[in-house]
């Protein structure tokens, strides 16, 4: 940039120009509309010039950080824009000379050039000691405009309306598919079992809390889902019966207890409604990055004991995020069971109404229910397990599964002659989602292997806020879950989808 190499001027003439500048500055400041360097000029320089003309190796060896460097030896002559070369560089149409260069934003808008001209004319006031820095934000023309160009007209309008309305950026949530990828890396590195023959019962330790829970292997196989029309108490949504094939997985021997879920539910951190830490820490681990519930305003046990008892009152989403949190620290892939996996495990090879047979009078040996539970949930794992070693599949608390609840049953899901394989029924709709197994509030009919319940918006009735919490169902008090761990490790996108299929984006989705 040859024109920047200006011949030196004598110290006498510099002194003269400074004196002139002072006089001009005072005179114009008293007049109408004097230019304020810090408010009007510095932002232009910082946005359009400092990107190149600052730092240790400024382009053209020309820095605009300080007044001294910017003014150079006569580049800017206070009082006369046309004297120094600075202003000429802003207005020349010579593409080899112009500043900013054509490939770096090109000439300033006329209004900005006019401001700079007036600023020099008024004496080029630059407060003593003031140093400029690179603008913090991205460059609009080279960085933001390309993003806007990708948007539809409708989306641009929405974005504009949001910016006009104050545009508060949401708390950045690190809980993304990238997080699922990191968790998956840990899972792949940790999970040793590759084939069904290697699956055995084991005890898992939740490392952040030291709490243990047990899992039992569930062999892969085929079963008939749903109940026959002849079954007493049978509802239309339990049919038609159809064959389903299921891949092997482990399942929690018991329902998730407060001992396991409580420390996940109540964390030390302030959280946004979607569950991200409002004040994230650079040292946050993949466990810390999983979204977790905001704080409940009252104990969610509703007056029932906690130790050894099933956790309740969580949304399907909260249960899913617990599974993700668990996975991120154990290195085993946990999620909610699909509805088909749940019924397959509950039946444990049987085709009777309950896994113990067809006699409701035996319910008391296997289940906590209306007649024996004293109107509250009871300790898990006390009643007899089913044939595959699972306790409380019938009764105690109802259990969330991953599926959308088609209240008209399975007919529309069936493709004649084909066996459904590892089915998962999912839509964007949040209500109803499926709950299985019945609870302490049900009679034996409600505990049957095929009995289904759909979630309801009324389950948030006692939440006084708007939007309502995405984490709590305050109402049924019968709502729990258990985890499964599929043998096959899916890709991260699938994990992400299954851990987030119950999320309510704004709490008003119904």
């Amino acid at each position: 940039m040859p024109r920047l190499q200006v011949p030196p001027v004598s110290s006498v003439s510099l002194a003269c120009t400074l004196a002139f500048a002072l006089a001009a500055g005072i005179a114009s400041a008293a007049g109408d509309g004097a230019i304020d360097f810090e408010k009007q000029i510095a932002p232009i320089f910082e946005d359009k010039c400092l990107n190149c003309h600052s730092g240790e190796k400024p382009k053209g060896k020309y820095s605009m950080v300080t007044r001294e460097a910017t003014f150079g030896d006569g580049l800017i002559v206070p009082g006369d824009p046309d004297d120094g070369d600075f202003y000429w560089l802003l207005i020349t149409e010579d593409e080899d000379e112009m500043m900013p260069p054509p490939d770096n934003g090109g000439p300033l808008p006329d209004e900005q050039r006019e401001l700079v001209r007036r600023w020099i004319e008024e004496g080029a006031n630059w407060p003593d000691g003031l140093e400029l820095g690179k603008a913090k934000g991205p460059d609009f023309s080279t960085e933001i405009q390309p993003i806007l160009d990708k948007l539809s007209v409708e989306d641009r309008e929405k974005l504009k309306a949001w910016i006009d309305a104050g545009a508060l950026w949401p708390v950045d949530n690190p809980d993304t598919v990238e997080l699922a990828e990191k968790i998956r890396e840990l899972i792949v590195a940790t999970s040793v079992e590759k084939v069904a023959e290697e699956m055995a019962a084991y005890t898992e330790t939740i490392s952040t809390t030291g709490v243990n829970f047990d899992l039992v292997p569930i062999p892969g196989g085929e079963f008939v889902m749903g109940s026959p029309e002849s079954e007493p108490g049978r509802q239309p949504n339990e049919g038609p019966q159809h064959p389903v094939k299921i891949s092997p997985f482990w399942m929690g021997k018991c329902e998730v207890t407060w001992d396991e879920y409580g420390p996940f539910m109540v964390s030390d951190d302030r959280r946004s409604k979607p569950g991200a830490k409002i004040y994230p820490d650079p040292d946050d681990t993949i466990v810390d990055m999983v979204s977790r519930p905001t704080k409940p305003f009252m104990p969610m046990n509703f007056g029932m004991p906690e130790k050894g008892h099933p956790a309740i009152a969580m949304t399907q989403h909260a249960a899913s995020k617990y599974c993700e949190w668990l996975s991120a620290q154990t290195g085993h892939y946990y999620r909610l069971p699909t509805e088909a996996e749940w019924e397959y495990a509950c039946r444990a090879g049987t085709s009777t109404a309950w896994s113990w047979g067809d006699d409701p009078a035996q319910a008391g040996e296997y289940a906590w229910f209306l007649d024996n539970a004293n109107f509250q949930y009871q300790k898990v794992g006390v009643k007899m397990p089913n044939q595959w070693g699972l306790h409380d599949m019938h009764g105690n608390v109802g259990e969330w599964v991953l599926d959308f609840h088609r209240s008209d049953g399975y007919a529309s899901l069936l493709d004649s002659g084909k066996v459904r394989e590892n089915p998962w029924v999912m839509t964007d709709k949040l209500y109803p989602r499926s709950v299985r197994g019945g609870s302490w509030k049900d009679s034996p009919v409600g505990l049957r292997s095929s009995a289904r319940l759909g979630s309801d918006t009324k389950w948030k009735m006692q939440d006084p806020q708007l939007p309502k919490s995405i984490w709590y169902h305050t109402e049924p008090r019968t709502l729990g879950f258990r985890v499964v761990r599929p043998l096959e490790i899916p890709d991260a996108a699938t994990m992400f989808k299954m851990w987030n299929s119950g999320v309510e984006h704004d709490g008003t989705q119904e």
């Binding site: 309305a165 104050g166 508060l168 409580g262 420390p263 109540v266 964390s267 030390d268 951190d269 302030r270 409604k273 409002i278 004040y279 704080k295 409940p296 305003f297 009252m298 104990p299 969610m300 046990n301 509703f302 007056g303 029932m304 906690e306 109107f375 509250q376 009735m461 006692q462 939440d463 006084p464 806020q465 708007l466 939007p467 309502k468 109402e475 008090r477 704004d506 709490g507 008003t508």
Partner: protein
């Protein structure tokens, strides 16, 4: 849902007289209060046409209350809103618009920001206001709302100190004489199962109450972030309001802000009569990060005839959680745990599913019915009474002294001046130290 047919609480007349007499509200109110009881206006003018609602405090609860207001009556509009945080205000409006569409008529000229925004809502053409800011502002805003002739829904607690309670009493009295409706958010008083439970207690099913124990053991609600998280240039007042729960002058402390629901059930059980005194322990074990509230209390309220009512509260993560009430009477017991149960000589009673109603909606149905019919419902006295009971417990814990009801009610300790500005420097009281912190 049927709205409650009458005011959910009927304090005993004697206690009401005492309450007013003992508080300096009577003297402050001057001539109007010479009778010591509220002027009896049974009916105000019925109200036809559109009820225009102003929302002051657009947080989650405020937005929820606005949703309940908009659901309580067919001809109601949300007409003006106020908050100190623009993002919160806009977020609230967006959610309400999504749910209620044209019932939300707020235009740019009816959105008000700042600590004085409430007055702008009151100056706008609204008929009823929802007061859901942090409780420290409640007395000032309630006074202004009643002065401006607005019907009011205000959240609990209604004050954070005794001067605030006295102000609220005056405002409530003024509301009554103006025929304005005033309903507060002590929500359990509008829950059908609880109402039936306490009706049975009051009817003597368990005899005379001998003692009561209420628990409010939970985790922390809105923990204080470390000082390093404070944005550069944010003044004390703004930072404290952003973290309002952690400052007594804004929240009243965990006892008055959260456990006050249990305190209110004690008051309810005792028919809202005045206690004699309170003794309490309390303190803080989890780092306060610059906040000044306790994280646990145990208060023993002494009522006439040595009836002792205990309240245990705690907000510490990983501890035993419980929110129950145990009432012992001469003829039986009443328990609120997972449902309401009465066991007595004459038989047992358990609340049924038909009594599990939406109390938040019921509050507003009750209020709007009153506005429509000119019923001038007024929760003022008992809402101030329950709030004062919580403040009294806090005073006893903070000072480590036995505090009488009369002392508590006439305390001159004002936790913060009313004229704070958003950018004011303000150092609140230091964390109280029992035995050293003086009763004022």
């Amino acid at each position: 849902m049927n709205p409650p047919s009458k005011s959910p609480s009927k304090p005993a007349v004697d206690s009401r007289r005492d309450f007013l007499k003992k508080s300096s509200a009577a003297t402050i109110a001057g001539a109007a209060a010479s009778s010591l009881v509220f002027p009896t206006i049974s009916r105000a003018e019925p109200f036809q046409g559109t009820i225009r609602v102003g929302l002051i405090g657009c947080g989650g609860r405020g937005s929820g209350a606005a949703a309940q207001a908009l659901s309580a009556d067919d001809n109601v509009q949300l007409a003006a809103v106020a908050d100190v945080f623009e993002g919160q205000l806009e977020g609230s409006l967006a959610n309400l618009r999504k749910k209620f569409g044209e019932k939300v008529t707020v235009g740019d000229g009816e959105k008000f920001l700042g600590l004085d925004a409430y007055q702008k809502v009151l100056d706008s053409n609204v008929d009823m206001v929802i007061l859901t800011t942090p409780p420290g502002f409640r007395p000032m805003m309630l006074e202004a709302a009643i002065k401006a002739g607005k019907h009011v829904f205000c959240e609990k607690p209604v004050a954070v100190d005794a001067p605030g309670v006295r102000s609220v009493l005056q405002s409530a009295q003024s509301a009554k004489s103006k025929g304005l409706s005033l309903v507060c958010g002590f929500c359990w008083r509008y829950h059908d199962a609880r109402r039936e439970f306490f009706n049975r207690i009051h009817a003597g099913e368990i005899g005379e109450i001998q003692s009561m124990f209420s628990t409010y053991y939970t985790g922390p609600v809105k923990p204080m972030p470390p000082a390093s998280r404070r944005p550069e240039g944010m003044a004390d007042v703004a930072w404290q309001i952003k973290n309002w729960y952690n400052f007594g002058w804004l929240s009243g402390d965990s006892l008055a802000e959260q456990a006050v629901h249990s305190v209110d059930k004690i008051a309810w059980a005792m028919k809202d009569i005045d206690p004699v005194s309170a003794v309490a322990t309390g303190g803080r074990q989890i780092p306060a990060n610059g906040g000044n509230i306790y994280d646990h209390f145990h208060v023993i309220y002494e009522f006439p005839n040595k009836v002792l009512c205990h309240l245990g509260s705690r907000q510490q993560r990983g501890t035993y959680g419980e929110n129950n009430d145990y009432i012992h009477g001469t003829k039986g017991t009443g328990t609120i745990a997972n449902g309401c149960v009465i066991k007595s000589e004459s038989g047992n009673w358990v609340d049924g599913p038909e009594l599990q109603t939406d109390m938040y909606q019921a509050e507003h149905n009750h209020l709007f019915k009153s506005i429509r019919e000119g019923g001038a419902v007024n929760d003022g006295e008992w809402m101030a009474h329950s709030t004062m009971l919580a403040i009294m417990g806090r005073m006893a814990a903070y000072t480590g002294q036995k505090i009488t009801w009369e002392e508590a009610l006439n305390s001159t300790h004002d936790l913060a001046p009313d004229d704070l500005k958003w950018d004011s420097e303000f150092t609140p009281d230091e964390m109280a130290l029992p035995g050293r912190t003086k009763f004022v």
